[in-house]
Symmetry: D3
Subunit: 243 residues, 6 copies
C-alpha cells in the first residue's frame, strides 16, 4: 500500500524526520510518500499558521489524486485540513491527534498531553472535544518549546519535556502521555523508557491505524458529509485545485 | 469606524450583495469595506472549499493590517478562519454563525437553522457545539439549494426556504429561525414577515454586534491564545503573508 | 428608542450608578429609563434575595407595558427574572451575565469571572451552563466583597478586585475578565487599563447588544415558549400584575 | 415530624388536593402542613407565573421559620424557589421534579415526562439539565391541558393523559412515566394500573424521600452555597421577610 | 417489608457490619436480610475484583427470587451488578453510590467524595457520569486506606478520613461529603458531628430510599430495558442461575 | 504475536465463527487463540447475562497469564469485563464496540449502530457515552434478532439487517454502519457491498488495532487505574483466580 504522509508545515527537514519516524513503524509492504505543502509557514504554532496549513493539506491531497494513495496521514497535532482531506479522497485519512487520543484511551483510563507552545493548548482542547476524548484527557500542558527547536532536540529540551510529562502524570493522576507535536516523534522511545508509562506518538499510531483500516478494506464514506467536493471554479493560485 | 467585511468565497456578485445587506443595517458612521480572497472557490459547500476559504480569510485580514480596520466580520456561515483572524488583528472579529446563534438564544428558548446543502449541516452542528449553542438549537435543516442559486433568488427558491422554515418551527418546537448562509441575507425581511417569528441573518447581527463592541472600546484579547502569530518564514504564494 | 433598565435590587443609589454607566455607553438616540422593584432586598447575594428580585423584575416589566419599551436590560449578574421578562414583553430582553459571557467568548478563547461573595459563584456557574458558556469560562472567583461596598468603591476594594483578576488570568490561562456584578460597572475602564486585557462589564454590553437587536427590528419570539403569559387571576399584593 | 408542603400557586382547592395526596403516602408520624403563598397566580403555566411563585415559596419558608419544619416539599413541577428555600431553612427541601426524576432513574433506564401546556416543556427540560437527569429522560410531552382543568379531572382528561403516556412510552422507548404537574397526583394510581409501567408522581416521592432524609438526620448544608441568607433590609411588601 | 442487602464482597464481618448499619436506620417493619456472594474477592478495590462481585450480586438476586424480596440494596460503592439486579427482580434495586449522590445533590449545591484507594476514584467518576451527578460532584479523593482496614477502624484511620474530608471541603468549595465505601458506614455519625456538614453514607440512604419506593408501591419497570432476562442455558458453575 | 480472542458467551460454535472472522483479517504472524468462559450464558442479551460474561472474561484473561498473550480482544459488543481485563494483563486489550466506534468516527462524520435485541440498545448507548462516541453516533437500532439466530444466518435475517441499516442511513443522515454484535461479523462484507457505505465489524477492527498497538510496543498502562489487581483471597469457585 501507498501511504501519503503530509507534513502540513513547510520545513523539509521536519518532513524528512517525520517520514523516518513513520517508516520505522510501517509494515514492509507500506510505502510512505512524504510531502509538504508548496506554501505556508515553516511551523504551525497559531491558528493563523494553521489556516494556511489546512489549505496546504487540501492541496497535497488534491495533487495526490493522480496516484490514488491507499491511506493518508496528516502529521501535525492540530489535524489541520482533516475533514477537507476526507472529502478529497476515498482513502482513509487519519490525523495524528485523533489517532493518539484513541490509542491513549485504550491503554489508560486517563492521559495527559504534553505539547509545545502554551498558546496551542487551546487547539488540542478543541480537538479533544471534537473527538469526544475530553473525558479521557486529564490535562494539556504547554512546555513553550518552539516547534523547530525539536529538530535536533538536545539533552536539555528532552529533559524539559520529560519533566513536564512527570509533572503531568502526578498532577493529573494520568496513566499515559500523548506527545502533542509531530516533531516529538523521535523522542517517543526514550521518554517511554524513562517514564515507565505508555508514551504515545500520533505519527506512529496514525500510520499503524491507517494500515489497519486499509487491511480491512475500509474507506472513507462517500455517502453524505464526506462526499467528494462539488466541482466548481476556483480562482487565483488555487485554480488548479478545483474539483 | 471602518468594518472589514470578508466574503470568504470568490464570487464578486455575492460580495456585493452581502455588502449591500451589511450597509443596510450599519450605523451611518460605519464604513463597510467588503473584500474577498484572491483565491479559492466561488462558493463554500464542503470542508474542502472551506479549507481554502479559511486561508483566504487569513489573507484578507493580513492585508488589511495596512489600514487597521476597527472590526472584522466573516460573512460565511461556517465562520472559516475565525480564530486565525482573531490572532491577526486587535479589532473584534465576528463570525456570522456565532453572532446569529447568540442573537437567536436571546430571542427564543430554541431555534432552528435552515441552510443550503444537507452536507453542510455537519459544519453548523460543529459550530453549535464550539459556541455552546447546541442546547439552544433544536434542528439544522438542509434545503439542498446550492449557494449560488440564492443570488437573484426567485419566487420558487424563497418558497422552498419558507417551507423548510415552517416545517422546522413545527417539528422542532422552535421559536426562531437562523438563516444558514450569508447569501440568504436579502431574504430575511420577507421571511420574517411571512413566518411571524424572528428570522436571524448573521451578517446583519454580526455587523451590529461588531459596532456594539467597538462602541465599548472592546478589542480582541492579545493575552494568551489570540496573541499575534509569531513572526516566521512563509513560503510559496503565501510568503507575503508572513507575520 | 426607549430602554428599560431594571436594577433588580432596591438600592436607589445603585440604580442611579448603573443608569449612569448605561447612559455613558448608549447611543444618543437611546433613552435609558432606570427603575427598581417596589419591594425586595437592597442587594442580591443569595438565592433567597434573588427569588424576590426575580419577582421584582417581573413587576417592573409588567408595569412598563404601559409605555412599551423598545428593549429591556436586567442589571444584576444573576439575570433574575430573565425568562419571565421575555414572556412579558415583545421587546428584546438581555441579562447582563448572558451578554457579558457572549461578548467575552468573541474576544478570547477563555475568560474568568470575578464576582462578589463566594457563595454567589454557584449562580454564575449555573448561568454559564444555561447559556452554553461553561466551556469558555475557565474559572469563577469570589472576592467576598459585599455588593453594597462597591458603591463609592475605595482604592482598597479596587485593588482587591484587580488582584483577583490578575490571579484569575494567570491561574485560569484566561484572556479576558468578566465583572460579575452590575455594581462593578464603574470600575471597568480602570481595570481594563491596568490589566491590559478586555474587561467586560455586562451592563455596557447588554445596552449595546440591545441597541443592536432593536436596530435590526428583532423582537422576542412570541411563538412558543416566550408567548405572553396566559391571563389569569393573581391574588394578594400581586393582583394588579395579572396579565 | 412536621413537613411543610408548599403549593406554589394560590388555588386553595389545589393546595387541599395536594395535601390529600401527600397525606395518603405519609408515614403516620408525619404531619403535613399544607400552605400556599399569600400572593401570585392561581396556576403556574409560564415563566412569568413562576417568578411570583418562587417568591411565594420563599415567603412561606420564611414564615415557617417560626415553627421550624423538619422537611419542606415544593409541590409544583418547576421546583420554583427551591434554592431560596434551601438557604432559608436547615430542613431538607425537596422539589417534586427533582424527586421524581431521581426515582424514575432508579426504576427504568429511560423515562418520559407527560405534562400540561406544551410551553412549559422548556421548564422541565431546564430542570432535567440542572439535576443531571437529561440523559435518563427520553422525552418531555405537553398535553395542552390547563393546570386547573386537572382539578376534578374528568374521564376525557384522564384519557388524554393516558394516550399521551402510551405514545411517549412507544416513541421514546421509555420504561416509566413521570407526571409533570402536582395536579396530576390523584391520577397516578389509575394511570399506573392502566399503563403497566411505573408512573411517578413527584409529590408522593418527595414526601417519602423527605421522610427518608429526616429519618437519617440529614439536613441542608449550611456550609457554603446554602448558608442562611445574609441579614439585610427588604423594602415594600417584602419588608417583613428580611432575614 | 423484606429488604435484601447484598454485600458484594465475601468478607462476612463486613456483611455483618453493613447489616448493623442498615438495621440502625431501617423502619421497624423492615426486615434486613444480609447476604454475600458464594464466591469472589474479600474486598473490591479494582475492576478485576468488581467483575466477580457483579456476578456475585447477580447470583444473590437470582437466589433470592425464591422469597421475593420487596427491595434490594447493593452495598458497595461501585454499585456492581446494579443493572443485572434490576432485570432479575421486580423489586426496586438501589446502589449505594447512586443513592448517596442523589441525596447529596438535595442537600448541597456541590459535594466531594472521600473514598479508599486512589485507583478506585475512576469507578466513582464513571458512576457520577452514569447517574448525571458529575456536575454536582466537585472532587473524588482517594485516601489509600485499604477497604478491610476500615473494619475495626482505629483512631488513626478515622483521623485520616476526617482530614481528607476537611481538605476536600476547602479545596472543592463543597458543602457535603459522600463516603465512598460501604465500610465507612459506621464512621458517618462521628464524621458528620466533627465536620459540621452533611456526611452521607450510601448504605443508610439506600435503605431509606428503598423503603420510600416500596411505600409508594413503585417497582422496577419490566417494560423495556429492565425486562426479565430471557430464559436460556447457562453452563458451568452458573448453570443453576439460568433464568 | 499471540492474540487472545475471548468470546464472552459460552456457545462454542460462536467462538469458532468469531475466530474464523478474526483469522481472516489477521496478519500472517498473528496467532489467534480463541476461548470462551467456563461458565455463563450461551448468549448475551441482557445486563444479567453480561454480569456473568464479564466475570468470564476476567477468568479467561487470568488463565491466559500463564502464556502471556501479546494482545487481548473481547468479542462481544457490550465490551464486558474490558476494564478488569486491562488490569489483569500488560497486553493491550480491545473491546469490539470501542474499536468499531473509533474506526467509524475516522470514516464518517456520523454513524448508526444496527444491533440485535432492542433491549440491548441501552448497553450500546452507555458505551458510546463511556468512549465519547455519542456525538458521532446518530442512532442505535434494534432488529430484535436473537444473537444465536445469527449463526448460520439465512437470507431472511440478512435481509432484515440490511433493511434496518438502510433505514438507519436515511433516518439518521449517517455515513457508515457499525454492526452491533460479534455474531454479525460474517455478514460484514456482503452488507458493505450492498449498502455502498463502510460497514464496520468490531471484531475485525479490534484485531487490526491490536496488531497496530503491539507493533508499536504499546502496552496497557500499569501506572494508576489499570495497575494489576491487588493480591487478596478469593473464595468459592473463583478461589483459583485470585491474583
Amino acid at each position: 500500500m501507498k501511504l501519503l504522509l503530509i507534513n502540513p508545515n513547510t520545513t523539509q527537514a521536519m518532513t524528512d524526520a517525520i517520514a523516518v519516524a513513520a517508516r520505522a513503524v510501517a509494515t514492509p509492504g507500506t510505502e510512505i510518500v512524504a510531502v509538504q505543502p508548496s506554501f505556508g509557514p515553516v511551523s504551525i504554532e497559531s491558528h493563523y499558521d494553521e489556516a494556511f496549513a489546512a489549505a496546504g493539506v487540501a492541496e497535497q491531497v488534491r495533487l495526490a489524486a493522480a496516484w490514488r494513495p491507499d491511506a493518508v496521514v496528516i502529521a501535525c497535532f492540530g489535524d489541520p485540513g482533516l475533514e477537507a482531506a476526507r472529502e478529497a479522497t476515498e482513502a482513509p485519512v487519519l490525523g495524528i491527534a485523533e489517532a493518539a487520543f484513541h490509542a491513549a484511551g485504550m491503554l489508560a483510563t486517563g492521559f495527559s498531553v504534553v505539547t509545545t507552545l502554551t498558546r496551542t493548548c487551546i487547539m488540542a482542547e478543541r480537538l479533544l472535544q471534537r473527538y469526544g476524548a475530553d473525558q479521557h484527557c486529564r490535562g494539556v500542558h504547554g512546555t513553550d518549546i518552539p516547534v523547530l527547536d525539536l529538530e535536533g532536540c538536545g539533552v536539555e529540551t528532552l529533559q524539559q519535556i520529560e519533566e513536564a510529562a512527570r509533572d503531568a502524570l502526578a498532577r493529573d493522576r494520568s496513566g499515559a502521555i500523548v506527545l502533542g507535536c509531530a516533531g516529538m516523534a523521535p523522542l517517543c522511545a526514550t521518554l517511554s523508557h524513562r517514564l515507565g508509562v505508555p508514551v504515545i506518538d500520533g505519527v506512529a499510531v496514525a500510520v499503524k491505524f491507517a494500515e489497519a483500516l486499509v487491511g480491512l478494506g475500509l474507506r472513507t464514506s462517500k455517502h453524505g458529509d464526506y462526499a467528494p467536493p462539488l466541482p466548481k471554479p476556483f480562482v487565483g493560485w488555487a485554480s488548479g485545485l478545483r474539483w
